[in-house]
Each structure stands twice: as structure tokens, then as C-alpha cells.
Symmetry: C2
Subunit: 428 residues, 2 copies
């Protein structure tokens, strides 16, 4: 008999069906036992006579049930299943390290991550990844409609795009390779290769030594790059429209999960405020008496600037623009002698995007590399692209785990990583 999914049972009132799933809860009364069964679509109350030998069934065991669907009024549905047959497909063999049948998983993050197969069974965990998928699909959907081509570029590379530090080394046969910090060089190449507009959703790797709640050593970067732009304003405009699309989609398709997670999402109504980096520094100094800035904005500074954006513009987002030339990689288009055509996007206290216009002229690129103290000879392959007709272009990258975490109100980015990798965690 074909398995019926729990969210389809209401089509089978007074009929006999087979359902399969995990035992979520067992409550034994005098003559009957209630088993709450969970499958990927929901929960259902099943009523079992105590003539069944139920002693061996453990919570979270995989079982199948054959029984009659009857109308009923219970916590889960307007029906329940009167059990006629019950089979244990695969029982639980050891004590569960975490309790799953509570409204909240009352365990610390490490326990949650160490027991990942179990913790994800909890709705407050798996809903995070349902929302994350909606975000990624929103990114993909919007860009596909705007004429972008999806690309997949190598993660085994010979040179790093963001400078020589923070690279994981890989033994590549006789050679030394690295794990890509970003698809930067390749997405630029693909703009020049005639696709004009490209995006990639893929892993990037940062061998950062510090273990913070903001960093992962392997994370998912949603990258895009497009040609024939005027300047970085085009990229920020695009990101505004893109985020609007994503947030609208999350609200529409993710309603159920947002409710489970008690998360609040606000769609972007107006333009996202744009403030120059140098102005932001001034605001931090004068309005918040922030010290120790030293030409940079630290995590506390990011939080304060977001507070400012919320208070002044009622915006969860703020663009900081015109970052100093010395803070940005060699491929960033300079703006005057000190600044660049670049930006960060901060969201609820943290940077979730870095972007900007790139240099497309060969001579300027060589000059800027020298300004940054880099030897152009080490970037032969990258540089050669600029000899053969590279259009003006720019792009950005959004950290998928970061935007997910902030959207759902998690302080620690690990909560939004299915299987995180950090300074000490390589397992599971």
C-alpha cells in the first residue's frame, strides 16, 4: 500500500492508510497509547490499543502504521489515526543525546552541532535551512530574470584573489594549490568572456585564525558580477532590487518557518541609505564617542552604524560607500587618490555584502597592483584578461549564512550553517 504523507491525510477521512515516519512522542494512558508520528510534512496523532506490545518502541524510532483515519479534535489536526498495525522499521538503539519533543531545543550550540542529524529534526532548526533555501532561490530567480548566467568556478586555485594570507593549502599532486577565497577572478573573467552578467552560489574558504561568532572557515557566497555599468551605484541599485525580491519571497513562501522561528522580516520599502565611509567614521566619533577607530570600523562600530540607520532612516540596511583605497583589494576601481568606487552593505549590525566597481583597464590595473605592493608577474593569468576587451564592470558577494542568521535573529553565524567548519570544527 502506498505511503500517505501526513499533510495529505485529510483527504482520507474514514479510510485506511499507511503512514511512515519518526516517533515524536509517546503518551501511555490506561488502555490506550498516543503516538505522535512525524514525517517531513507534519505531525499526526495515532491511537494505539495497549494490546500492542509497545514497550520496545523508542522515541525517534522509524515506524510504519496502518490504520483508519477518524475525525478528531487534537493539538495537531482535525483527525487522528486508529492504529491497526504498527511496524518498527528501524528502532533507536541508544539513549538520545538530546530531547527533541520540546518546543525549544534547550541545549548549547556545540551539542546542537555535535548531534546534527538529531538537532535538524527539530522544527526550530530545520526551518532555518528552509528559509536559507528561499533566500538562495530568490537570488537565483531574480538574476535569471535579469539575464544573468549561473557559473561554477574552480575552488582549487593557484593564486588567491584577496591577497596572500588566509589561504588553505592543498597538495595538488606535485604542485601547491589553494582553496579559493572567492570566485572574484573567475567571475570577472566570465563577464569578459561575453556572458556579461554572471552569478555563482558556492563555497569559499578563509583560513582565518580567529574563532568568532561572525566567521566560518567554509561558507556559501552568493556572488554576482556584471558588465557595462556606469559605476558602483549600478551595483547598489541592483542589490536593492535583489534584496527586495528575496525578502518578499521569504515572507510569502517562508511564512510557516518564520512563525516557527518567531522571526520578523521587513521588506525594503524605500532606497537603502548610502553613507560615505568617512562620514560613518565621523558619525561614530561625534555621535557615539567611539574611539579606537584607526580608519576602520570594527564589529562594535558596525552595530552602532546600524543603530544609526535604524533610528535616522528606519532601515535595517545601510550602504557604506567610498572605502579608502588602502582597505580594498587591488582590483577595486579607485575614486580620486584616496577612495574607491566600493561599498559594504550592513544589515542589523553586521556586514553582509562587499562590492564595488572593478578596474577594467590594463594599465590602471598594473599601476594599482604596484600601489598595493603586489608584483604583477604573480598575476599573469588574471592580468592577461584585460588585454582583450574587458568591459567596465563590478559586482558583489553576499554571505548566505550571515544574511540568514541576521534575518532570523541569531547572533552566531554557525546557527545558519548546516554543517559548519570553524577554527576547531571539522566534524561531523
Amino acid at each position: 500500500m502506498k505511503r500517505v504523507m501526513i499533510n495529505e491525510i485529510d483527504n482520507y477521512i474514514n479510510k485506511k492508510i499507511v503512514i511512515k515516519g519518526w516517533v515524536y512522542r509517546i503518551r501511555k494512558l490506561k488502555s490506550i497509547t498516543f503516538i505522535i508520528l512525524r514525517d517531513r510534512t507534519g505531525y499526526v496523532q495515532c491511537v494505539v490499543s495497549n494490546e500492542f506490545k509497545l514497550n520496545t518502541i523508542k522515541v525517534e524510532a522509524v515506524i510504519s502504521i496502518y490504520g483508519m483515519v477518524k475525525e478528531s479534535n487534537n493539538k495537531y489536526n482535525g483527525f487522528e489515526v486508529d492504529v491497526e498495525q504498527l511496524n518498527i522499521i528501524n528502532n533507536v538503539l541508544a539513549e538520545l543525546p538530546i530531547e527533541l519533543n520540546k518546543e525549544n531545543l534547550e541545549i548549547n550550540l556545540d551539542t546542537k552541532l555535535n548531534n546534527r542529524m538529531l538537532s535538524i529534526r527539530h522544527d526550530k532548526v530545520n526551518s532555518i535551512f528552509k528559509i536559507q533555501n528561499i533566500i538562495a532561490n530568490g537570488f537565483r530567480e531574480y538574476l535569471n530574470n535579469e539575464g544573468f548566467t549561473e557559473i561554477s568556478t574552480p575552488k582549487l586555485v593557484k593564486e588567491g584573489a584577496e591577497g596572500g594570507t588566509e589561504l588553505f593549502k592543498v597538495e595538488y599532486f606535485e604542485k601547491q594549490a589553494y582553496l579559493a577565497q572567492s570566485p572574484q577572478f573567475y567571475k570577472q573573467m566570465m563577464v569578459g568572456a561575453g556572458f556579461e552578467r554572471v552569478y555563482e552560489i558556492g563555497h569559499v574558504y578563509r583560513a582565518e585564525e580567529h574563532n568568532t561568532n561572525r566567521h566560518l572557515n567554509e561558507y556559501i557566497s552568493m556572488d554576482l558580477e556584471l558588465g557595462f555599468i556606469e559605476d558602483e551605484e549600478d551595483i547598489m541599485d541592483l542589490e536593492e532590487r535583489l534584496l527586495k525580491h528575496i525578502l518578499t519571497k521569504v515572507l510569502k513562501e517562508g511564512e510557516k518557518y518564520l512563525k516557527i522561528l518567531k522571526a520578523e522580516v521587513q521588506v525594503i520599502e524605500d532606497k537603502i541609505p548610502r553613507v560615505k565611509f568617512s562620514e560613518a567614521i565621523e558619525i561614530l566619533k561625534t555621535k557615539y564617542n567611539k574611539t579606537g577607530l584607526d580608519g576602520d570600523i570594527d564589529p562594535e562600530g558596525e552595530k552602532l552604524i546600524c543603530k544609526y540607520a535604524k533610528e535616522k532612516y528606519n532601515s535595517d540596511f545601510i550602504f557604506l560607500t567610498h572605502y579608502p583605497r588602502e582597505k580594498r583589494p587591488m582590483y577595486t576601481m579607485p575614486c580620486g587618490t584616496e577612495e574607491t568606487h566600493s561599498f559594504d552593505l550592513l544589515f542589523r549590525g553586521i556586514e553582509i555584502t562587499t562590492g564595488g566597481q572593478r578596474i577594467h583597464e590594463y594599465d590602471m590595473l598594473i599601476e594599482n597592483m604596484k600601489y598595493k605592493g603586489l608584483d604583477p608577474e604573480n598575476y599573469d593569468s588574471y592580468i592577461s584578461n584585460f588585454k582583450y576587451g574587458m568591459p567596465p564592470h563590478g559586482g558583489l558577494a553576499i554571505g548566505l549564512e550571515r544574511i540568514t542568521a541576521r534575518l532570523l535573529g541569531f547572533e552566531n553565524v554557525r546557527e545558519a550553517s548546516l554543517i559548519p567548519r570553524d577554527r576547531t570544527r571539522l566534524m561531523p
Copy 2:
């Protein structure tokens, strides 16, 4: 003035527009010059008076043109652009290493790959990746509709899923890590984590020493795994429906690219023939006098079996089933004492899928690990999943570059990799 894309010019007859793109071809006559401009949407003929100083413009330079659209009858369209202004946005600075304005790129594969930004500008190259995107989107679309959840699992792992060989080593701070050969352990975990049905389109890494036209050291694997199956027949049934969906989508959305590539695609009408591995060996021996089989089917054997499938069943595909236990990894569900509930799918001469039912019972898994000479202690984390209610499950993986290459008739899988990594190639 806003840029008009070439495929929209026919809305602007007798109007003035701005177009931007690459110079595809220059043909100088006595008083006028024809410039064929290419953007991501197509080609257009532009007519320039020789009063313009055109000497400096090189083929493949990036230019912008302002001019009047006029009706015309030329090779490309029913219109042309009468040029009033022409600006060089970024010229070509060196001699082009390959000639792009021919019907075919008459260069060898290495030259094509060494000059990737340029070779992809050719329609016969970029069309490959347009088709590849349709394949991947078809995979995603079909599975989303079937209740699958997309996952993204770590590529930095502590243990290999397919055995200890062929792993790339990574220095992970003080630890030794490897690049994942497959998401096998994680996709099984995610079935058990309650998603029941999961898929991933992501990179996998094989440190294979040999350099063949069938292998890449980094490739894109389209993986899926689903729970509550009866046996591997469910997985093969799913793959039939999935491939039918993908091929129908390729025919519909990829028509233009298939034409450029002169590729023929046949939709699967009936069921894909299923032949036991042991029978296939017999067929190779008796029908094709194949020797040197030694209990395995080599590349030549795969070609012959596909020939057999074409002649006997008029099918481009054939499932080989019930692979010997000794040929399959430890997680494969045994079938009797010698065989397994597993299969390969061959397509036009090459294996494109490996799949099967997995072991879901703890004791059987431990026993099978020992049978395979593995120490269960080395797989602690993986094994622990089987103590807590793992449903019966199975899955498969399709190599994206391989299916693309075979669909389009390329012998070498590198043709279908945007930026391939092989035994010697780490650049570009």
C-alpha cells in the same frame, strides 16, 4: 541614453539607439566599413562612414555605438545600425591568440582552455554552458517539485566516503583534512535528519593520478538521496522520470544552443533497459568476444554495452544492476552474499551515474565494514547516525560535466567544464 540589447533592436526601427558590445568582425569597403557588433544577446551589422578614424579599433574591442536603426537585409537581422557616434570603451592591446570570428574554433583543446576568456566568447563554446545550466536547473526543478530539500554540505572533511585513496589533503590549521570525494555521508545524514529527500549540486574532488578524457579532478556532482524506499528500483524509477524531465527541458529551452552545437537529443520514451552486471559481462564475452574483463567492465566494455543497448532496445541509456559486493563501497546494501542493491547508468558509451540502496541498519553496517576490511572506529561520526532512527534509503549521483559532454557529443569531458582541473591543469 540607456543601452539597448541587440535582441531588442527590432523595436527601434527608424529610431536612434545606443548599443554596446564586442567587435566581432570589421569589413572595410571603399567608402564605408561594416562592423559586426556582438553582445550577450546576439549580433548586429553596423555601417560606419570611412570618415570615422577606425584604424585603431581591433576585433574583440569593447565599443559603444550611437546610431539610427534602419531596415536592411543582411546575414544577421532584418535591420542594421547607421553609426553616428562610435566610442572605444576598452580596446584590444595585443594580438588575439585565437581567431573568434569563424564558424568553428579551429584550435586544440589546450589552446581553448589556456585562453578561456576568449574561447568562451565563441558561440560553440558558450552554448555548452547554457545547455549545462538547463540540465542543472532541470535536476533542481524536478526534485523541488517532488518534495526534495536542497542542501549544501562541507567539502572540507575529516574522512573520505569512498575509501582512503584518491583524496586531496588540506592543511586545516593543526589538523589534517581532505577534500570531499562525495557528499555521501552528509546526504544520508540529512535523510535521517528528517528532510527525507535531499539533493546537492556541488563540487567533488578526486585525486586520481591518471589523466584521461573521462576524468576531472574537480567536478560538479548532482547528488540526491531519499528515504522510505523499497529498494534500488525506486531510485532507478526516479532517475528515469528525472532524466525525462531534464531532456524535455533541454529540447525546449535549449533549442537555439543545440542548433549551434549541431547536437541531437532524444527524449526517453520508454523505460530504460535494466541488465544485471553479471549478464552484461556474459554479453560482452559471448556477443563481443571481449577479453580481459576480470569481473569488471572497462571503458571499452562500457562502449560495447551501450552499443548493445542501442541495437537491442534503441536506447541511449542502459542501467547495469546488482554490482558485485566487492566492487561497491561499504555503505551499499548487499543483495544475497555476492551482489548488491546497486546500479550504474551508462549513457552513450560512458557511466554517468552510480547509485543504489544504502544500508540503514546499524549492525549490518558494522558487519559490512568489517567485510570490506574497514575499521568501524574510523567512522565514528558516520556510524552514530544509524543508532537514532535511520529510514531505509538510497540515492545516486550524476556527473554534470559527463552528462553534458555525452549529450553534446564531446569525447573529452573537459569540453564541458567551464574551468577544468585535471592532473596537470591548475590554471587559469
